[in-house]
Every structure is written in structure tokens, then in C-alpha cells.
Symmetry: C2
Subunit: 467 residues, 2 copies
């Protein structure tokens, strides 16, 4: 039972921070009550805007002393309810901590505050001939991307968010500040805290500074589109490309309904067939050989048309269209909410999983597009839901479950890149078995009162304690 | 205080396993009392040889019930005392669990038992046109390599051991069996237990099955040697190669004294100058361009001679010579013990660190070679010590400390790939600060009685409890 009123808590926070950094304004709280998903909103009691690490430490000390839940918030682009404060309390909005602190160009590293967005970072890095590789659909904050271990179209070559993290400054549940890593390219010193905190979704601590790996902008880039008679043909072509050892930088599946959305939203005229968007990075001679070999391989899978973009503008247009796909669906379905499935499977199981998903979408009478980072074995079914139609919502939940169970039975995971939040919490026991108990022991050791983003990832009993 | 005699413990273990799997034979215990380092040996009380996961679970249940320390043991090739049972107890030797269980060639995965060595695995993988990338100097077991997060010459391209781990079957301190991952190429589901258990050096659990990533043998490979007037020139050339974005697969520094050892031990006739051993993987055209560009770059750093090996035999001889370097030193210094420093720094600090190390070796009047995985910023000083010469041992310890402190002050780590064991435990507080408290909380949560390889990584108080 809390020992304080919200009024007292606000006064305390204002004293420790400043007047204008603490608000109970309803509009602001509403903005922090939801993410981009179909999950039901819940208002936080208070929203605070820290300016530095010390502010965050002060907030967590108060939260810990008064037993108030805290939820870190980037831009609210999560897809499984991660930032929804299901037990109320304080939401920490990191939008004032949005500086690129240092570009260590010779070490291919960058230090940023958690509120920096990926496009903001890339704009800064471009001056140095560098880029940050991870590119989820949303222009998310980097803090949020670390929190969910986000990925995107380039992870098949450059890895996921966790692979980019060299060091995190983290404020723990009691306000203590630690660093989880260092600046060296590798280390065998102590437990891998970088890896543990990446993907912890605010349940183990709040990030206040991130040191991330960056890459030189590739000397040469080739991008193209390959169209196939069916999604199966496209997926099987990807398997061939990977097995041939071609170091592809991006390989994205966009199915027929999704290509139609792209064309409508982005004013493109791409062939409305199941399509692979492809990209290669490297030196000129190597690239040419990779592209030729890929053409041979896709032709062996009945590729109907393959088109390489020759100029930078067309290439950018292609990836912009791909990135805007979720927004194309939202734009094309006003008043509806998005549900996106997110399983990832071993590549040998991908074709079967996509066929299973497509059949189930049709059997349930739903309409949804299939897209995916197929080089990683990760695909999404995008559904636009009428939240007032209980039957439709029920069918969508059933589909999501069918897709998850299919993946789990075949060595896959319920979430390749969106994270658990509370939407995927119900599958944690089935996916991890007794390993979930280990996660819960770690959570209990680091957040004994379950105040850091409670209700996410690990299970909680009716009294709010970690199981 | 233990509630049992060793005799009783042996009887219990023999009952749970079988007569021939449990021994107190002194010769066997002596073989399990040490690793390849200068650290002082200590005999285990008992050595057991499990045949399967259930055996390991039974051993850990007994260890936990009777409060007996347990130390997992692969081949004893660790370099910081990892497998030395500093508190006695049971050593678990995994040599009977040495099967390659399954090659999932279409998924680029392999399932192995922990006692499989890297050369044994590569021999099996070759049949499928695949290889396992991580190659420490020793032909270590894969279980040991996961335990220390080992790496080697190829991590600049393929990553370290942790990057290869998809799933571990782990027996926890109470005998419970968990899986830390799955078969998918990426996942955002739950805390990153793969990463946490990799590099945990037997302090959090014992591995009984490993699912690891493997790679297609590259279509084309080019390898060569480039000699420079000084180590500084060589290191600066590496920085240029990395900054040019050339996707080099291996880049190893071998200094002048070390090249002499190589020539003597491996019967080669390499120019006795600071040398980079280089390797490139890729398609034919791309490789040619990479090699030409590299030649241009090294020439800009006063490269005195560059020689590419044209046939597979010479290429293999080159890497065999590099891998045998530590043994060349041991062979050339009979009766002496090896101390190897192992810092890793941001690449921009590498040239300074190597110069600092070389100067300190000379100032202290020691003789030692410098080698390194310089593409990662990781280098070693190899010292051959007369263990009866207290002054020499003292100087070597002083050098090791100077090198570690230099690295820590510049954002580096005290160990790039050898791990902590007890040799680097004294630097954990300085390197990790309060993050060490987090590691200790995790250790306490998973091994409350501190029975799993006690005395390694985390601090222990005088009563044997974790601090």
C-alpha cells in the first residue's frame, strides 16, 4: 500500500528535479498511456522529464523509497505494450536527453543519450562517412531500441541491436549508476551485462548513456527488387542465397497485398507480386560478382522480374517505401489498430511457417499482409483491427497464437525483434521453460520490489511480486 | 563445515553414476589440478566423468545437498587458473561427453557435447563444406571455449565465441536443467541468458549441450605476410585497413622475437621482422580488389615486404605456425611456465599500448614476445618464467599490472579473450566498478552457496560467501 499521495510524490519530484520537469497534465499523461499497438492504454500518474543521469538517479531513489512503479519512455513506438504503465506510477520520458555526445570516428563508436532517434544519429554520422546500421520501421529512440533489442532490415549482415552495444550507463532500481561494458571490441571480463541489459525492456534499470558501434558507409551499394509467382518461391530463393554464402546486406520479403499498400502510400509502381527487396554492400568488383550470382540463383526459383536501382535516389525510395509499410497500412485503414506478429524461426523452417501463416489468415477470414526480414528467418503478419469488433479481435489473437506455437514447436522464438512487453508475456513459460525461473531470479535480485516496468517479461503474482 | 567424509561422497557419487566414473586416483587428480598457466596447482578431492546430462544433474544435486564445490573441466588449456579447484571438491571432467550430436547444415548450426574440441568439430564439419570460426591457440574443448568466451584470429570478421552461441543446455547449481536460447537467428524474447552464461567460467552452471553457429567454407581465400620496420608501423597499418572498411578475415601481429620462435619451432623461413599475418575471405573478384587495396595501404606504412601464399598448403602452414606460437615459446623454454597478458583496447589506443608494453618489458629487463589479434585491439605479451626466481616472477606480475592499468585507463578491458579465472580477479573491481556488485547479485541468485567454481570472477569473503 503506498505511503504517500500523488500530490506528495509530485512535490518531492519537483523538489529533487525542477518544477517544469514534472507534470500530471492529462494530455501529457494520455500521450504516455499507449504505444503503437492494439494493447489497451493505461494512464501513468505522473510524467517526468529528466535532463541528465543524476535526475534519473534521483527519480529512482524516490521510486524505490516510496515503492512507486517507474516506466521508461522513448517515443512510444513499441508494439507489445512495453511502455504502457500497467500499474500506474511514474513514466520517465527521455526526450530531453537527446544529445549525440561524442563520435569516436577512429574507433567506429558513438556515445549518445537514450532519447536520440536513429535518424537523428544517422544525420550526425553522415558528416563522418559513418552510419548506424539498425533500422526498425519506426524512427525510434536508441534507448528504446536497446531496451527491446530491436533490429530491422540490415541485421542479416550487421547484427541486431545487442551486437552494437559496447557500453551502457544504467541507473539501477536503487538509484545506483553502473557501466555495463567498455570501449574495447571484445572482452572476456566478468558477466555479460551489456547483453543482459539489452532487451531488458526497462525491467532491470534505466539507460542514461549508450556507447554503440557504427560502420563506415559502404564504398559501393547495389539494391534491387525481385518478383516471384508466390511467397514460397521468394522464401526458397532467400534460402538459396544464404546457402551460397553471398554476404547480402538486406533481403526483405513484401507480399502481394503489402506491395499494393506500398504503391498506394509511396506512389511507386512496383510490380504487384510477392517481392524481395535486396541490397549488397562491398567493393565494386565483389559486388558485381555477388549480384550476378544472386540473379542466377533467383532465376532458379522462377523469378519473374529482377530490377536493380541504378541511382541513389531510386535506392533510397525503395527503402523508404519498405520502411513506411506499417504506416502505409495504418494510413490505408483509418480508425483501426495494428497487430503485428513477430516470430523468428531457423531458416529451414521459414517457408513452411510463412505458408502456415498465410493459410491461417485466409481460413480465419482475416485480411493481412506478410512482410519479413527473411534473411534472419523473421516475418510479420500485419493485421489492421477494428477494436470494436470482438469477433475480429478474437480471430486475430487466435492467429497470433497459432503463428507463435508453430514457431515454438520448430525451435523458433515468439518475438524476433519487437520484444515481450505484456503482449508476448503469455508465451514466455512455453518458450523458455525453467529458464524463465532464472530470469525471474535475476529480476528479483536487481529489482526486489518489482518497481521497474512491472508486468513486463517476467511473471508477477496477484500481490505484484515476481513469481 | 562439510557434513560428510570424502569417502562417503565418493560412495554416493558411485551409487548415482557408476564405479568407473568416479576416481580419487592421485595421478588423475594431479592432471586436474592445473591449467596451462603459471598459477599454482591445487588438487581436487574427487574427479568424476559424466556421460550425459542426467549424470551432471545428479552430481550437482549431490554438490548442492552436501555443500561441496564443483569445477567443470574441459582440457585444462585455460590461462588464468579457471579450472584450478582452489577450494578442492569435485572436478567434473567432460571428456566422455565428446560427441558431435547433429549438423543442421541448412541452418548453419551444429549441436555438440561440451567435451568436443574445435579441431574435432572442424574435421566433422568439413564433410558438409562448413567450418567453425573461433580458433584460440589451444585445441580447447568447445565447452571450455564457451565458458571463457574465447576468441582467436578470426573474430575480427566472424565474432567471438559469444556470437556463435544459439543455445546452451545448462545444469544449474541445484541440478535443474535449462535451455538458454533457441535455434532462431535472432530473438527479443526474455533476458539474454545465452550471453550471460557464455563467459561465466563455470560459476553459474555446467554446460551439457551447445548449439553453435557455423559458416560455409569461403569460396576464395587469400593469405599473406607483411613485414614492417617496427611494431608501431604494423599496428598503424592495421588501423588504416580497418578504417578503409576492408572486410579482413584475420589480421595478426607477430613481433620480431616471436617470428624467431616461429621459424625455429615450425621450420619456416619467414623474414625476422615485425609481421602481420593477413587473410581475406570472399568471392574471387572482390578478394582481388581487397588484396590490392591492402597492399597500397600497407605500403603507405613503410611495409618492407609483402608475400601472398598462393597454395592451400602454404596458407595452412602459415596459420599452423601462428597457432603453435605459444607452444613454440614453451618448447623453446623448457622448465619455464607461461604468463600471457591479454588486454584489449579501442583500436585508436592500440599502437600506444603496444609501445608502452614493449618499453616496460625492456625497462624491467624481461624477455617476452608480443603477438596479437590486432584487428580487435587485443594483444598478448608472452613471458616464459622461471618459477623459482621470485624476482623474475615479481617483475612479470608488475608488467602484467602495468599493461592492465594502461588499458583500463583508456576504455579497455583486462582480458580480451582468456577470461578472469582467479588471475584477473584482482582487476574486476577497478574495471567494472559498481557493476561488479550486479554480477555478484546474479551469482548469489543462481548459486546461493557459492559452490560452482568458487573463487573465480566474483569476490568471496573469508567465510567463502559471495561479497
Amino acid at each position: 500500500m503506498p505511503q504517500h499521495t500523488t500530490y506528495e510524490l509530485v512535490e518531492l519530484l519537483k523538489k529533487e528535479l525542477s518544477e517544469e520537469q514534472v507534470t500530471v497534465n492529462k494530455t501529457v499523461r494520455e500521450l504516455h498511456s499507449k504505444d503503437e499497438s492494439y494493447h489497451s492504454p493505461r494512464l501513468p500518474d505522473i510524467v517526468v522529464f529528466p535532463k541528465n543521469t543524476q535526475d534519473v538517479s534521483r527519480i529512482l531513489k524516490i521510486s524505490s523509497q516510496l515503492r512507486v512503479p517507474v516506466v521508461p519512455f522513448g517515443l512510444g513506438s513499441s508494439l507489445e505494450g512495453h511502455v504502457i504503465p500497467v500499474e500506474g506510477g511514474i513514466t520517465i520520458d527521455f526526450s530531453l536527453m537527446n544529445k549525440v555526445l561524442e563520435v569516436l570516428e577512429n574507433d567506429f563508436l558513438v556515445k549518445v543519450q537514450p532519447g536520440v532517434t536513429r535518424s537523428q544519429l544517422n544525420k550526425e554520422l553522415k558528416k563522418y562517412g559513418l552510419f548506424f546500421s539498425v533500422d526498425p520501421g519506426a524512427d525510434a529512440t536508441l534507448g528504446g531500441m536497446v531496451a527491446t533489442n530491436a533490429s530491422g532490415t540490415t541485421s542479416v549482415k550487421y547484427g541486431v541491436m545487442r551486437d552494437q552495444v559496447r557500453d551502457l550507463e544504467v541507473v539501477l532500481s536503487d538509484g545506483m549508476v553502473i557501466h555495463t561494458g567498455n570501449l574495447a571490441a571484445k572482452s572476456s571480463s566478468g558477466f555479460h551485462l551489456n547483453g543482459l541489459f539489452t532487451g531488458s525492456e526497462g525491467t532491470l534499470g534505466c539507460f542514461t548513456e549508450l556507447t554503440l558501434r557504427v560502420y563506415g558507409i559502404p564504398e559501393h551499394v547495389a539494391a534491387g527488387r525481385a518478383s516471384f509467382p508466390t511467397v514460397q518461391h521468394a522464401v526458397e530463393a532467400v534460402v538459396s542465397i544464404l546457402q551460397a554464402g553471398i554476404p547480402i546486406a538486406r533481403v526483405e520479403l513484401v507480399d502481394e497485398p503489402s506491395i499494393r499498400q506500398v504503391n498506394r502510400f509511396s506512389d511507386t509502381h512496383y510490380l504487384e507480386k510477392p517481392t524481395l527487396f535486396l541490397e549488397f554492400h562491398g567493393n565494386e568488383a565483389g559486388l558485381k560478382q555477388d549480384v550476378e550470382f544472386t540473379q542466377e540463383l533467383v532465376n532458379g526459383h522462377d523469378c519473374e522480374a529482377i530490377q536493380f536501382e541504378t541511382d541513389t535516389a531510386s535506392r533510397n525510395a525503395l527503402w523508404e517505401a519498405r520502411h513506411n509499410l506499417a504506416y502505409a497500412y495504418i494510413h490505408g485503414n483509418p480508425g483501426r489498430k495494428m497487430m503485428v506478429t513477430d516470430v523468428c524461426l531457423p531458416i529451414s523452417e521459414l517457408a513452411g511457417a510463412v505458408a502456415h501463416a498465410r493459410k491461417n489468415v485466409e481460413d480465419l477470414g482475416l485480411t493481412g499482409g506478410i512482410v519479413g526480414h527473411v534473411g534472419d528467418g523473421n516475418f510479420h503478419v500485419l493485421l489492421m483491427l477494428d477494436m470494436d469488433n470482438a469477433e475480429e479481435l478474437d480471430k486475430a489473437n487466435k492467429l497470433n497464437e497459432q503463428i507463435v506455437l508453430y514457431a515454438l514447436e520448430r525451435g523458433g522464438t515468439c518475438t524476433g525483434e519487437h520484444g515481450v512487453g505484456f503482449g508476448k508475456q503469455k508465451y514466455q513459460q512455453q518458450e523458455h521453460g525453467d529458464a524463465l525461473l532464472v530470469m525471474e531470479k535475476i529480476k528479483r535480485a536487481l529489482d526486489p520490489n518489482n518497481l521497474l516496468n512491472p508486468g513486463k517479461i517476467v511473471r508477477t503474482d496477484k500481490k505484484g511480486a515476481i513469481i
